[in-house]
Amino acid sequence: MDLHQLWTIVSLPDNVPIVLLMFVVPFYTWYGLRQAFANDRLIAELEANPGLAKTHHRKTQPWKPGWAREVHVWPYLLRIEFLAAIIVTLLLMVWSITLNAPLEEPSNPTLTMNPSKAPWYFLGLQEMLVYFDPWIAGVVMPSLIIVGLMVIPYIDENPLGNGYYTYQQRKFSIWTFIFGFIILWVTMIVIGTLIRGPGWMWFWPGTTWDHNRLEFAVNRDLPDIFGIKARIGKIIFGAIVIGIYFIVAAIGIHKVMNLTPFARKIFKRMSLLQIVTMQVFLIIMLSLPLKIIARLLFRIKYIWVTPWFNV
Protein backbone atom coordinates (compact mmCIF):
# COMPACT_ATOMS: atom_id res chain seq x y z
CA MET A 1 0.00 0.00 0.00
CA ASP A 2 1.64 3.17 -1.22
CA LEU A 3 -0.19 5.91 0.64
CA HIS A 4 2.31 8.48 -0.52
CA GLN A 5 1.41 7.79 -4.14
CA LEU A 6 -2.28 8.08 -3.29
CA TRP A 7 -1.67 11.40 -1.55
CA THR A 8 0.38 12.64 -4.50
CA ILE A 9 -2.52 11.98 -6.84
CA VAL A 10 -5.27 13.28 -4.59
CA SER A 11 -3.41 16.43 -3.56
CA LEU A 12 -2.42 17.39 -7.10
CA PRO A 13 -4.02 20.85 -7.36
CA ASP A 14 -5.92 20.09 -10.55
CA ASN A 15 -7.29 16.90 -9.01
CA VAL A 16 -8.87 18.73 -6.08
CA PRO A 17 -12.06 19.43 -8.10
CA ILE A 18 -12.51 15.68 -8.60
CA VAL A 19 -12.06 15.01 -4.92
CA LEU A 20 -14.64 17.76 -4.36
CA LEU A 21 -16.89 16.14 -6.98
CA MET A 22 -16.66 12.78 -5.19
CA PHE A 23 -18.23 14.42 -2.14
CA VAL A 24 -20.71 16.89 -3.60
CA VAL A 25 -22.27 14.56 -6.19
CA PRO A 26 -23.24 11.87 -3.61
CA PHE A 27 -24.35 14.61 -1.22
CA TYR A 28 -26.66 16.31 -3.70
CA THR A 29 -27.94 12.96 -4.97
CA TRP A 30 -28.94 12.13 -1.41
CA TYR A 31 -30.29 15.65 -0.87
CA GLY A 32 -32.50 15.47 -3.96
CA LEU A 33 -33.67 11.88 -3.51
CA ARG A 34 -34.52 12.52 0.15
CA GLN A 35 -36.98 15.20 -0.99
CA ALA A 36 -38.19 12.89 -3.76
CA PHE A 37 -39.05 10.17 -1.23
CA ALA A 38 -40.78 12.72 1.04
CA ASN A 39 -42.91 13.84 -1.92
CA ASP A 40 -43.60 10.19 -2.82
CA ARG A 41 -45.01 9.57 0.64
CA LEU A 42 -47.25 12.63 0.26
CA ILE A 43 -48.36 11.45 -3.20
CA ALA A 44 -49.22 8.00 -1.87
CA GLU A 45 -51.21 9.59 0.95
CA LEU A 46 -53.14 11.82 -1.45
CA GLU A 47 -53.78 9.00 -3.93
CA ALA A 48 -55.29 6.95 -1.12
CA ASN A 49 -57.43 9.81 0.14
CA PRO A 50 -59.14 11.79 -2.68
CA GLY A 51 -60.88 14.02 -0.15
CA LEU A 52 -57.57 15.14 1.28
CA ALA A 53 -56.21 15.66 -2.23
CA LYS A 54 -58.86 18.33 -2.80
CA THR A 55 -58.00 20.36 0.30
CA HIS A 56 -54.28 19.70 0.78
CA HIS A 57 -51.79 22.27 -0.50
CA ARG A 58 -49.84 19.36 -2.02
CA LYS A 59 -46.36 20.27 -0.90
CA THR A 60 -44.08 18.97 1.80
CA GLN A 61 -43.25 22.56 2.71
CA PRO A 62 -45.17 23.85 5.75
CA TRP A 63 -48.41 25.69 5.08
CA LYS A 64 -50.94 27.46 7.28
CA PRO A 65 -54.20 29.08 6.18
CA GLY A 66 -53.79 32.83 6.09
CA TRP A 67 -50.18 32.75 5.00
CA ALA A 68 -49.45 34.89 1.99
CA ARG A 69 -48.99 32.74 -1.10
CA GLU A 70 -46.20 34.97 -2.38
CA VAL A 71 -43.38 36.91 -0.77
CA HIS A 72 -41.54 40.00 -1.90
CA VAL A 73 -38.32 39.41 -3.81
CA TRP A 74 -36.86 42.27 -1.81
CA PRO A 75 -35.80 41.22 0.79
CA TYR A 76 -36.74 37.52 0.89
CA LEU A 77 -34.92 36.39 -2.27
CA LEU A 78 -32.31 39.11 -2.68
CA ARG A 79 -30.91 38.56 0.80
CA ILE A 80 -30.37 34.87 -0.06
CA GLU A 81 -28.65 35.79 -3.32
CA PHE A 82 -26.49 38.32 -1.48
CA LEU A 83 -25.57 35.74 1.15
CA ALA A 84 -24.79 33.13 -1.55
CA ALA A 85 -22.54 35.64 -3.34
CA ILE A 86 -20.64 36.31 -0.12
CA ILE A 87 -20.25 32.59 0.65
CA VAL A 88 -19.04 31.78 -2.87
CA THR A 89 -16.59 34.69 -2.75
CA LEU A 90 -15.25 33.52 0.61
CA LEU A 91 -14.96 29.93 -0.56
CA LEU A 92 -13.12 30.99 -3.71
CA MET A 93 -10.82 33.31 -1.74
CA VAL A 94 -9.91 30.68 0.84
CA TRP A 95 -9.39 28.06 -1.87
CA SER A 96 -7.19 30.48 -3.86
CA ILE A 97 -5.14 31.52 -0.88
CA THR A 98 -4.51 27.99 0.38
CA LEU A 99 -3.92 26.23 -2.94
CA ASN A 100 -1.86 27.40 -5.88
CA ALA A 101 -2.89 26.85 -9.49
CA PRO A 102 -0.58 24.34 -11.14
CA LEU A 103 2.19 25.53 -13.41
CA GLU A 104 4.48 22.97 -14.98
CA GLU A 105 7.62 23.54 -16.99
CA PRO A 106 7.39 25.57 -20.22
CA SER A 107 5.66 23.67 -22.99
CA ASN A 108 8.00 21.34 -24.83
CA PRO A 109 6.75 19.38 -27.84
CA THR A 110 9.76 17.05 -27.64
CA LEU A 111 9.10 15.95 -24.05
CA THR A 112 5.84 14.04 -23.72
CA MET A 113 4.20 14.08 -20.29
CA ASN A 114 3.45 10.60 -19.02
CA PRO A 115 0.59 10.28 -18.31
CA SER A 116 -0.58 13.24 -20.37
CA LYS A 117 -4.09 13.95 -19.32
CA ALA A 118 -6.84 16.20 -20.59
CA PRO A 119 -8.48 18.64 -18.15
CA TRP A 120 -10.46 16.69 -15.55
CA TYR A 121 -13.91 17.31 -17.05
CA PHE A 122 -12.77 15.64 -20.31
CA LEU A 123 -11.13 12.65 -18.60
CA GLY A 124 -14.31 10.65 -19.12
CA LEU A 125 -13.86 11.10 -22.86
CA GLN A 126 -10.15 10.30 -22.63
CA GLU A 127 -10.95 7.15 -20.65
CA MET A 128 -13.39 6.24 -23.42
CA LEU A 129 -10.42 6.18 -25.82
CA VAL A 130 -9.43 2.88 -24.20
CA TYR A 131 -12.67 1.30 -25.32
CA PHE A 132 -13.38 3.02 -28.62
CA ASP A 133 -11.35 4.44 -31.47
CA PRO A 134 -10.85 8.23 -31.35
CA TRP A 135 -13.48 8.92 -33.97
CA ILE A 136 -16.12 7.36 -31.71
CA ALA A 137 -14.77 8.39 -28.30
CA GLY A 138 -13.62 11.85 -29.29
CA VAL A 139 -16.14 12.96 -31.88
CA VAL A 140 -19.24 10.78 -32.24
CA MET A 141 -19.88 10.10 -28.54
CA PRO A 142 -19.46 13.74 -27.38
CA SER A 143 -21.79 14.88 -30.16
CA LEU A 144 -24.31 12.21 -29.20
CA ILE A 145 -24.07 13.22 -25.52
CA ILE A 146 -24.84 16.84 -26.42
CA VAL A 147 -27.67 16.02 -28.82
CA GLY A 148 -28.95 13.31 -26.47
CA LEU A 149 -29.19 15.79 -23.61
CA MET A 150 -30.98 18.26 -25.86
CA VAL A 151 -33.68 15.81 -26.94
CA ILE A 152 -34.54 14.75 -23.37
CA PRO A 153 -37.44 17.24 -22.99
CA TYR A 154 -38.87 16.19 -26.33
CA ILE A 155 -38.90 12.44 -25.72
CA ASP A 156 -39.99 12.46 -22.07
CA GLU A 157 -43.74 12.13 -22.40
CA ASN A 158 -44.35 11.69 -18.68
CA PRO A 159 -46.33 14.77 -17.58
CA LEU A 160 -45.86 14.02 -13.87
CA GLY A 161 -42.99 15.24 -11.75
CA ASN A 162 -42.90 18.70 -13.30
CA GLY A 163 -41.50 21.09 -10.73
CA TYR A 164 -41.04 18.82 -7.75
CA TYR A 165 -38.71 16.03 -6.70
CA THR A 166 -40.18 12.58 -7.14
CA TYR A 167 -38.86 9.09 -7.64
CA GLN A 168 -41.97 6.92 -7.92
CA GLN A 169 -43.52 8.95 -10.73
CA ARG A 170 -40.31 9.08 -12.84
CA LYS A 171 -38.40 5.88 -12.08
CA PHE A 172 -37.26 5.26 -15.64
CA SER A 173 -35.98 8.76 -16.40
CA ILE A 174 -34.29 9.16 -13.01
CA TRP A 175 -32.49 5.83 -13.33
CA THR A 176 -31.43 6.70 -16.87
CA PHE A 177 -30.02 10.07 -15.88
CA ILE A 178 -28.29 8.78 -12.76
CA PHE A 179 -26.79 5.98 -14.85
CA GLY A 180 -25.56 8.39 -17.49
CA PHE A 181 -24.41 11.16 -15.18
CA ILE A 182 -23.05 9.36 -12.13
CA ILE A 183 -22.15 5.86 -13.34
CA LEU A 184 -20.78 6.79 -16.74
CA TRP A 185 -19.71 10.47 -16.66
CA VAL A 186 -18.54 10.97 -13.05
CA THR A 187 -17.18 7.47 -12.52
CA MET A 188 -15.15 7.59 -15.72
CA ILE A 189 -13.73 10.97 -14.68
CA VAL A 190 -12.75 9.44 -11.33
CA ILE A 191 -11.15 6.45 -13.08
CA GLY A 192 -9.29 8.71 -15.48
CA THR A 193 -8.01 10.85 -12.63
CA LEU A 194 -7.27 8.50 -9.77
CA ILE A 195 -6.64 5.15 -11.43
CA ARG A 196 -5.02 5.76 -14.81
CA GLY A 197 -1.26 6.14 -14.44
CA PRO A 198 1.76 6.19 -16.75
CA GLY A 199 0.98 4.76 -20.17
CA TRP A 200 -2.70 5.12 -19.27
CA MET A 201 -2.38 1.77 -17.44
CA TRP A 202 -4.71 0.72 -14.66
CA PHE A 203 -3.20 1.35 -11.21
CA TRP A 204 -5.46 0.60 -8.27
CA PRO A 205 -5.50 3.40 -5.67
CA GLY A 206 -2.62 2.81 -3.30
CA THR A 207 -0.34 1.08 -5.78
CA THR A 208 2.83 2.79 -6.97
CA TRP A 209 2.87 4.42 -10.39
CA ASP A 210 5.64 2.39 -11.95
CA HIS A 211 6.90 4.13 -15.08
CA ASN A 212 8.71 1.00 -16.19
CA ARG A 213 5.71 -1.26 -15.90
CA LEU A 214 4.85 -3.19 -19.03
CA GLU A 215 1.54 -4.78 -19.72
CA PHE A 216 1.53 -7.95 -21.76
CA ALA A 217 -2.19 -7.86 -22.35
CA VAL A 218 -2.91 -9.29 -25.75
CA ASN A 219 -6.01 -7.66 -27.08
CA ARG A 220 -8.05 -9.70 -29.44
CA ASP A 221 -10.74 -8.84 -31.93
CA LEU A 222 -14.02 -10.68 -31.65
CA PRO A 223 -13.78 -12.24 -35.16
CA ASP A 224 -10.36 -13.73 -34.23
CA ILE A 225 -11.89 -15.53 -31.24
CA PHE A 226 -14.33 -17.17 -33.60
CA GLY A 227 -11.49 -18.00 -36.01
CA ILE A 228 -12.65 -15.74 -38.82
CA LYS A 229 -9.60 -14.77 -40.85
CA ALA A 230 -10.92 -13.41 -44.15
CA ARG A 231 -11.39 -9.67 -44.44
CA ILE A 232 -14.83 -9.95 -45.98
CA GLY A 233 -15.81 -12.47 -43.32
CA LYS A 234 -14.76 -10.05 -40.57
CA ILE A 235 -16.83 -7.25 -42.09
CA ILE A 236 -19.95 -9.41 -42.34
CA PHE A 237 -19.44 -11.03 -38.94
CA GLY A 238 -18.96 -7.68 -37.18
CA ALA A 239 -22.02 -6.18 -38.85
CA ILE A 240 -24.09 -9.17 -37.77
CA VAL A 241 -22.89 -8.97 -34.15
CA ILE A 242 -23.58 -5.23 -33.98
CA GLY A 243 -26.96 -5.83 -35.58
CA ILE A 244 -27.80 -8.51 -33.03
CA TYR A 245 -26.71 -6.21 -30.21
CA PHE A 246 -29.00 -3.45 -31.52
CA ILE A 247 -31.96 -5.83 -31.70
CA VAL A 248 -31.35 -7.42 -28.29
CA ALA A 249 -30.74 -4.06 -26.63
CA ALA A 250 -33.84 -2.59 -28.25
CA ILE A 251 -35.95 -5.48 -26.97
CA GLY A 252 -34.44 -5.14 -23.51
CA ILE A 253 -35.06 -1.39 -23.38
CA HIS A 254 -38.58 -1.94 -24.69
CA LYS A 255 -39.20 -4.44 -21.87
CA VAL A 256 -37.90 -2.00 -19.24
CA MET A 257 -40.02 0.80 -20.69
CA ASN A 258 -43.10 -1.38 -20.26
CA LEU A 259 -42.22 -2.88 -16.89
CA THR A 260 -45.03 -1.40 -14.80
CA PRO A 261 -48.63 -0.41 -15.59
CA PHE A 262 -47.65 3.24 -15.20
CA ALA A 263 -44.69 2.80 -17.55
CA ARG A 264 -47.03 1.23 -20.12
CA LYS A 265 -49.36 4.23 -19.80
CA ILE A 266 -46.45 6.60 -20.57
CA PHE A 267 -45.27 4.37 -23.42
CA LYS A 268 -48.70 4.62 -25.06
CA ARG A 269 -48.40 8.42 -25.07
CA MET A 270 -45.14 8.33 -27.01
CA SER A 271 -45.03 8.83 -30.76
CA LEU A 272 -43.09 6.43 -32.98
CA LEU A 273 -40.43 9.09 -33.58
CA GLN A 274 -39.99 9.60 -29.84
CA ILE A 275 -39.64 5.86 -29.23
CA VAL A 276 -37.09 5.42 -32.01
CA THR A 277 -35.05 8.44 -30.86
CA MET A 278 -34.99 7.24 -27.27
CA GLN A 279 -34.07 3.72 -28.35
CA VAL A 280 -31.16 4.87 -30.50
CA PHE A 281 -29.64 7.05 -27.79
CA LEU A 282 -30.12 4.43 -25.05
CA ILE A 283 -28.72 1.60 -27.20
CA ILE A 284 -25.59 3.62 -27.95
CA MET A 285 -25.27 4.69 -24.31
CA LEU A 286 -25.53 1.08 -23.16
CA SER A 287 -22.85 0.02 -25.63
CA LEU A 288 -20.27 1.91 -23.56
CA PRO A 289 -20.50 -0.18 -20.37
CA LEU A 290 -20.70 -3.35 -22.50
CA LYS A 291 -17.54 -2.40 -24.36
CA ILE A 292 -15.85 -1.60 -21.02
CA ILE A 293 -16.70 -5.10 -19.76
CA ALA A 294 -15.62 -6.70 -23.04
CA ARG A 295 -12.32 -4.86 -22.95
CA LEU A 296 -11.43 -5.10 -19.28
CA LEU A 297 -12.69 -8.62 -18.58
CA PHE A 298 -12.36 -10.39 -21.94
CA ARG A 299 -9.55 -8.36 -23.57
CA ILE A 300 -11.64 -7.80 -26.68
CA LYS A 301 -10.56 -4.73 -28.63
CA TYR A 302 -12.80 -4.60 -31.67
CA ILE A 303 -16.14 -6.15 -32.48
CA TRP A 304 -16.39 -4.99 -36.03
CA VAL A 305 -13.20 -4.84 -38.09
CA THR A 306 -13.28 -3.21 -41.51
CA PRO A 307 -10.55 -1.65 -43.68
CA TRP A 308 -12.08 1.82 -43.15
CA PHE A 309 -13.09 1.88 -39.50
CA ASN A 310 -13.14 -0.37 -36.45
CA VAL A 311 -15.80 -0.54 -33.75
Binding site: V16, P17, L21, V24, Y28, L33, K59, T60, Q61, W67, A68, E70, V71, H72, Y76, L78, I80, E81, A84, A85, V88, L92, W95, I97, L99, A101, L103, E105, P106, N108, S116, K117, A118, P119, W120, Y121, F122, Q126, P134, W135, A137, G138, V139, M150, I152, P153, D156, N158, P159, L160, G161, N162, G163, Y164, T166, Q169, S173, F177, W308, F309
Partner: protein
Protein backbone atom coordinates in the same frame (compact mmCIF):
# COMPACT_ATOMS: atom_id res chain seq x y z
CA UNK B 1 -37.57 80.13 0.97
CA UNK B 2 -40.43 82.37 1.99
CA UNK B 3 -40.14 81.17 5.55
CA UNK B 4 -36.39 81.81 5.48
CA UNK B 5 -36.88 85.41 4.43
CA UNK B 6 -39.43 85.91 7.16
CA UNK B 7 -37.09 84.73 9.88
CA UNK B 8 -34.31 86.87 8.49
CA UNK B 9 -36.42 89.99 8.73
CA UNK B 10 -36.14 90.72 12.49
CA UNK B 11 -32.42 89.97 12.48
CA UNK B 12 -31.96 92.43 9.66
CA UNK B 13 -33.82 95.12 11.59
CA UNK B 14 -31.78 94.56 14.71
CA UNK B 15 -28.55 94.67 12.83
CA UNK B 16 -29.69 97.71 10.88
CA UNK B 17 -30.26 99.72 14.10
CA UNK B 18 -26.82 101.31 14.30
CA UNK B 19 -26.83 101.93 10.57
CA UNK B 20 -30.01 104.08 10.76
CA UNK B 21 -28.29 106.33 13.30
CA UNK B 22 -25.50 107.00 10.85
CA UNK B 23 -28.02 107.67 8.02
CA UNK B 24 -26.22 105.18 5.75
CA UNK B 25 -25.43 101.48 6.24
CA UNK B 26 -21.74 100.97 6.79
CA UNK B 27 -20.09 98.41 4.43
CA UNK B 28 -19.35 96.21 7.45
CA UNK B 29 -23.01 96.06 8.35
CA UNK B 30 -23.96 95.17 4.78
CA UNK B 31 -21.40 92.45 4.77
CA UNK B 32 -22.57 91.02 8.11
CA UNK B 33 -26.17 91.15 6.98
CA UNK B 34 -25.30 89.35 3.77
CA UNK B 35 -23.30 86.71 5.60
CA UNK B 36 -26.15 86.11 8.02
CA UNK B 37 -28.58 85.66 5.16
CA UNK B 38 -26.31 83.14 3.50
CA UNK B 39 -25.87 81.32 6.81
CA UNK B 40 -29.59 81.13 7.33
CA UNK B 41 -30.12 79.78 3.84
CA UNK B 42 -27.34 77.22 4.29
CA UNK B 43 -28.86 76.08 7.58
CA UNK B 44 -32.17 75.69 5.82
CA UNK B 45 -30.65 73.60 3.01
CA UNK B 46 -28.71 71.43 5.43
CA UNK B 47 -31.96 70.74 7.22
CA UNK B 48 -33.37 69.59 3.89
CA UNK B 49 -30.38 67.28 3.39
CA UNK B 50 -31.49 65.26 6.40
CA UNK B 51 -34.15 63.95 4.07
CA UNK B 52 -31.98 63.14 1.04
CA UNK B 53 -34.78 61.22 -0.64
CA UNK B 54 -36.56 64.55 -1.22
CA UNK B 55 -33.69 66.00 -3.24
CA UNK B 56 -33.74 66.18 -7.02
CA UNK B 57 -30.42 64.33 -7.28
CA UNK B 58 -31.79 61.39 -5.33
CA UNK B 59 -34.98 61.28 -7.35
CA UNK B 60 -33.07 61.46 -10.63
CA UNK B 61 -30.94 58.43 -9.69
CA UNK B 62 -33.57 56.16 -8.17
CA UNK B 63 -36.65 57.31 -10.09
CA UNK B 64 -39.13 55.91 -7.54
CA UNK B 65 -39.85 56.30 -3.86
CA UNK B 66 -38.26 53.78 -1.54
CA UNK B 67 -40.48 53.80 1.50
CA UNK B 68 -41.96 50.92 3.43
CA UNK B 69 -44.99 50.36 1.20
CA UNK B 70 -45.38 47.09 -0.77
CA UNK B 71 -45.59 49.12 -3.98
CA UNK B 72 -42.21 50.71 -3.36
CA UNK B 73 -40.64 47.36 -2.56
CA UNK B 74 -41.89 45.97 -5.83
CA UNK B 75 -40.72 49.04 -7.78
CA UNK B 76 -37.34 48.85 -6.08
CA UNK B 77 -36.78 45.52 -7.82
CA UNK B 78 -38.62 46.17 -11.07
CA UNK B 79 -37.11 49.59 -11.79
CA UNK B 80 -33.52 48.51 -11.08
CA UNK B 81 -31.54 47.47 -14.11
CA UNK B 82 -29.54 44.86 -12.18
CA UNK B 83 -32.50 43.38 -10.36
CA UNK B 84 -35.22 43.66 -12.97
CA UNK B 85 -34.78 40.05 -14.07
CA UNK B 86 -36.53 39.16 -10.83
CA UNK B 87 -40.27 39.33 -10.55
CA UNK B 88 -41.61 41.63 -7.81
CA UNK B 89 -43.02 38.73 -5.86
CA UNK B 90 -42.38 35.01 -5.91
CA UNK B 91 -43.96 31.90 -4.49
CA UNK B 92 -43.12 31.63 -0.81
CA UNK B 93 -41.67 28.12 -1.25
CA UNK B 94 -39.51 29.11 -4.23
CA UNK B 95 -36.91 30.69 -1.95
CA UNK B 96 -36.24 27.33 -0.28
CA UNK B 97 -32.58 26.38 -0.78
CA UNK B 98 -33.50 22.70 -0.64
CA UNK B 99 -35.38 23.03 -3.91
CA UNK B 100 -33.01 24.98 -6.17
CA UNK B 101 -29.65 24.33 -4.48
CA UNK B 102 -28.87 27.85 -5.73
CA UNK B 103 -26.61 26.39 -8.39
CA UNK B 104 -27.82 28.39 -11.38
CA UNK B 105 -27.47 31.74 -9.66
CA UNK B 106 -24.11 30.82 -8.16
CA UNK B 107 -22.87 29.70 -11.57
CA UNK B 108 -23.72 33.12 -12.96
CA UNK B 109 -22.00 34.78 -10.02
CA UNK B 110 -18.85 32.71 -10.55
CA UNK B 111 -18.99 33.62 -14.26
CA UNK B 112 -19.00 37.32 -13.32
CA UNK B 113 -16.06 36.70 -10.98
CA UNK B 114 -14.24 34.97 -13.84
CA UNK B 115 -14.89 37.83 -16.25
CA UNK B 116 -13.57 40.24 -13.62
CA UNK B 117 -10.40 38.31 -12.72
CA UNK B 118 -9.89 37.35 -16.36
CA UNK B 119 -9.98 40.98 -17.48
CA UNK B 120 -7.38 41.85 -14.84
CA UNK B 121 -5.23 38.92 -15.99
CA UNK B 122 -5.40 40.18 -19.56
CA UNK B 123 -3.48 43.30 -18.47
CA UNK B 124 -0.44 41.13 -17.78
CA UNK B 125 -0.63 38.50 -20.48
CA UNK B 126 0.60 38.46 -24.09
CA UNK B 127 -0.72 35.58 -26.24
CA UNK B 128 2.67 34.93 -27.78
CA UNK B 129 4.86 31.87 -27.63
CA UNK B 130 7.84 34.03 -26.66
CA UNK B 131 6.45 35.63 -23.52
CA UNK B 132 3.27 33.77 -22.52
CA UNK B 133 4.98 31.47 -20.02
CA UNK B 134 7.15 34.30 -18.69
CA UNK B 135 4.04 36.42 -18.21
CA UNK B 136 2.64 33.73 -15.92
CA UNK B 137 5.87 33.65 -13.92
CA UNK B 138 5.76 37.45 -13.73
CA UNK B 139 2.14 37.26 -12.57
CA UNK B 140 2.97 34.73 -9.91
CA UNK B 141 6.04 36.44 -8.49
CA UNK B 142 5.96 40.18 -9.20
CA UNK B 143 2.45 41.42 -9.86
CA UNK B 144 0.75 42.48 -6.61
CA UNK B 145 -1.87 39.84 -5.82
CA UNK B 146 -1.09 38.28 -9.20
CA UNK B 147 -0.90 34.82 -7.75
CA UNK B 148 -4.23 35.24 -5.97
CA UNK B 149 -5.73 36.54 -9.21
CA UNK B 150 -4.57 33.54 -11.21
CA UNK B 151 -5.60 31.10 -8.50
CA UNK B 152 -9.08 32.63 -8.30
CA UNK B 153 -9.47 32.41 -12.07
CA UNK B 154 -8.32 28.79 -12.15
CA UNK B 155 -10.39 27.54 -9.23
CA UNK B 156 -13.34 29.67 -10.25
CA UNK B 157 -13.33 27.93 -13.62
CA UNK B 158 -13.31 24.48 -11.97
CA UNK B 159 -16.04 25.58 -9.58
CA UNK B 160 -18.15 26.80 -12.49
CA UNK B 161 -17.93 23.44 -14.27
CA UNK B 162 -18.96 21.60 -11.08
CA UNK B 163 -21.82 24.04 -10.44
CA UNK B 164 -23.11 23.82 -14.01
CA UNK B 165 -23.21 20.02 -13.77
CA UNK B 166 -25.00 20.12 -10.42
CA UNK B 167 -27.45 22.73 -11.76
CA UNK B 168 -28.29 20.39 -14.62
CA UNK B 169 -28.67 17.49 -12.18
CA UNK B 170 -31.13 19.49 -10.06
CA UNK B 171 -33.12 20.64 -13.08
CA UNK B 172 -33.39 17.02 -14.19
CA UNK B 173 -34.38 15.65 -10.77
CA UNK B 174 -37.18 18.22 -10.44
CA UNK B 175 -38.39 17.58 -13.99
CA UNK B 176 -38.02 21.28 -14.70
CA UNK B 177 -37.23 20.66 -18.36
CA UNK B 178 -40.83 19.60 -18.93
CA UNK B 179 -43.44 21.74 -20.60
CA UNK B 180 -43.21 24.74 -21.00
CA UNK B 181 -39.46 24.83 -20.30
CA UNK B 182 -38.22 22.36 -22.94
CA UNK B 183 -36.38 24.92 -25.01
CA UNK B 184 -34.66 26.51 -22.03
CA UNK B 185 -33.13 23.09 -21.25
CA UNK B 186 -31.70 23.06 -24.78
CA UNK B 187 -30.22 26.52 -24.21
CA UNK B 188 -28.82 25.19 -20.93
CA UNK B 189 -27.12 22.27 -22.68
CA UNK B 190 -25.50 24.75 -25.11
CA UNK B 191 -24.31 26.78 -22.13
CA UNK B 192 -22.85 23.62 -20.56
CA UNK B 193 -20.87 22.96 -23.74
CA UNK B 194 -19.73 26.59 -23.88
CA UNK B 195 -18.61 26.39 -20.24
CA UNK B 196 -16.48 23.33 -21.02
CA UNK B 197 -15.05 25.02 -24.12
CA UNK B 198 -14.25 28.17 -22.15
CA UNK B 199 -12.42 26.13 -19.57
CA UNK B 200 -10.62 24.07 -22.21
CA UNK B 201 -9.40 27.04 -24.27
CA UNK B 202 -8.09 28.67 -21.10
CA UNK B 203 -6.08 25.54 -20.28
CA UNK B 204 -3.54 26.22 -23.05
CA UNK B 205 -2.89 29.86 -22.22
CA UNK B 206 -0.16 29.43 -19.54
CA UNK B 207 1.80 27.61 -22.26
CA UNK B 208 3.19 25.06 -19.81
CA UNK B 209 3.55 21.30 -20.21
CA UNK B 210 0.18 20.65 -18.53
CA UNK B 211 -1.80 22.85 -20.90
CA UNK B 212 0.22 21.96 -23.96
CA UNK B 213 -0.27 18.21 -23.62
CA UNK B 214 -3.88 18.48 -22.50
CA UNK B 215 -4.70 20.49 -25.61
CA UNK B 216 -2.59 18.18 -27.76
CA UNK B 217 -4.53 15.17 -26.47
CA UNK B 218 -7.81 17.04 -26.84
CA UNK B 219 -7.29 18.28 -30.37
CA UNK B 220 -5.78 14.99 -31.52
CA UNK B 221 -9.31 13.65 -31.28
CA UNK B 222 -10.32 16.14 -33.96
CA UNK B 223 -7.98 14.47 -36.43
CA UNK B 224 -10.16 11.39 -36.10
CA UNK B 225 -13.36 13.19 -37.04
CA UNK B 226 -15.26 11.07 -39.55
CA UNK B 227 -15.03 12.59 -43.04
CA UNK B 228 -13.35 15.81 -41.87
CA UNK B 229 -10.22 14.50 -40.09
CA UNK B 230 -7.21 12.97 -41.79
CA UNK B 231 -7.21 9.97 -39.41
CA UNK B 232 -10.95 9.54 -39.27
CA UNK B 233 -13.09 7.05 -41.20
CA UNK B 234 -13.26 8.04 -44.87
CA UNK B 235 -11.12 11.15 -44.21
CA UNK B 236 -8.27 9.83 -46.29
CA UNK B 237 -10.59 8.98 -49.15
CA UNK B 238 -11.94 12.54 -49.10
CA UNK B 239 -8.44 13.99 -49.42
CA UNK B 240 -7.89 15.03 -45.82
CA UNK B 241 -4.29 15.65 -44.76
CA UNK B 242 -2.85 17.13 -41.54
CA UNK B 243 -2.72 20.43 -43.41
CA UNK B 244 -6.32 20.86 -44.47
CA UNK B 245 -8.50 18.96 -42.00
CA UNK B 246 -10.69 20.17 -39.15
CA UNK B 247 -7.84 19.97 -36.64
CA UNK B 248 -5.77 22.31 -38.80
CA UNK B 249 -8.65 24.76 -38.66
CA UNK B 250 -8.84 24.57 -34.87
CA UNK B 251 -5.11 24.97 -34.28
CA UNK B 252 -4.17 27.20 -37.18
CA UNK B 253 -1.44 24.69 -37.94
CA UNK B 254 -0.60 21.02 -37.85
CA UNK B 255 0.81 21.21 -34.30
CA UNK B 256 -0.07 23.11 -31.13
CA UNK B 257 2.07 26.21 -31.66
CA UNK B 258 1.94 30.01 -31.80
CA UNK B 259 -1.21 30.14 -33.93
CA UNK B 260 -2.99 27.70 -31.63
CA UNK B 261 -2.07 29.87 -28.64
CA UNK B 262 -3.46 32.98 -30.32
CA UNK B 263 -6.61 31.17 -31.42
CA UNK B 264 -7.18 29.75 -27.93
CA UNK B 265 -6.68 33.26 -26.51
CA UNK B 266 -9.21 34.88 -28.82
CA UNK B 267 -11.77 32.12 -28.37
CA UNK B 268 -11.23 32.21 -24.60
CA UNK B 269 -11.22 35.97 -24.01
CA UNK B 270 -13.49 37.34 -26.72
CA UNK B 271 -15.53 34.96 -28.84
CA UNK B 272 -16.87 32.36 -26.41
CA UNK B 273 -17.63 34.87 -23.61
CA UNK B 274 -19.70 36.92 -26.07
CA UNK B 275 -21.52 33.84 -27.39
CA UNK B 276 -22.06 32.50 -23.86
CA UNK B 277 -23.34 35.88 -22.67
CA UNK B 278 -25.86 35.94 -25.48
CA UNK B 279 -27.11 32.47 -24.56
CA UNK B 280 -27.21 33.46 -20.87
CA UNK B 281 -29.42 36.44 -21.72
CA UNK B 282 -31.81 34.09 -23.52
CA UNK B 283 -31.59 31.52 -20.70
CA UNK B 284 -32.52 34.01 -17.98
CA UNK B 285 -35.14 35.72 -20.09
CA UNK B 286 -36.77 32.38 -20.83
CA UNK B 287 -36.83 31.50 -17.13
CA UNK B 288 -39.10 34.54 -16.62
CA UNK B 289 -41.14 34.04 -19.78
CA UNK B 290 -41.74 30.38 -18.99
CA UNK B 291 -43.33 31.37 -15.69
CA UNK B 292 -40.42 31.75 -13.29
CA UNK B 293 -38.60 28.89 -11.65
CA UNK B 294 -40.45 25.61 -11.89
CA UNK B 295 -41.36 25.02 -8.29
CA UNK B 296 -41.66 23.68 -5.73
CA UNK B 297 -44.94 22.98 -7.51
CA UNK B 298 -47.89 21.15 -5.94
CA UNK B 299 -47.52 17.42 -6.60
CA UNK B 300 -49.61 15.95 -9.43
CA UNK B 301 -51.40 12.65 -9.06
CA UNK B 302 -51.42 9.75 -11.45
CA UNK B 303 -55.18 9.49 -11.08
CA UNK B 304 -55.57 13.05 -12.33
CA UNK B 305 -53.31 12.59 -15.37
CA UNK B 306 -54.87 14.09 -18.48
CA UNK B 307 -54.97 12.33 -21.82
CA UNK B 308 -52.38 13.67 -24.27
CA UNK B 309 -53.53 15.94 -27.05
CA UNK B 310 -53.33 14.27 -30.42
CA UNK B 311 -51.74 16.14 -33.30
Amino acid sequence: MAEGNGSKGPDGNGAGGPGENGGKKSPVTVLVEGAKAVQAQAAEEIKALKQPEKTDVWKSVLRVKHDETPRSRALGVLSNVFLHLHPAKINRDAVAYSYTWGMGGMTFYVYITLVFTGTLLMFYYHPSKVVAFRDILYLEHDVPFGKLLRNMHRWGAHLMVIMVELHMFRVFLTGSYKKPRQFNWVVGVILLVLTLLLSFTGYLLPDDQLGFWAVTVGTNMARATPLLGHDGPFGHQLGMTPFNDVRFGLLGGSIVDANALLRAYIWHCVAIPIIASAFMVVHFWRVRKDGGISGPAPVQLESEMKEPRKL
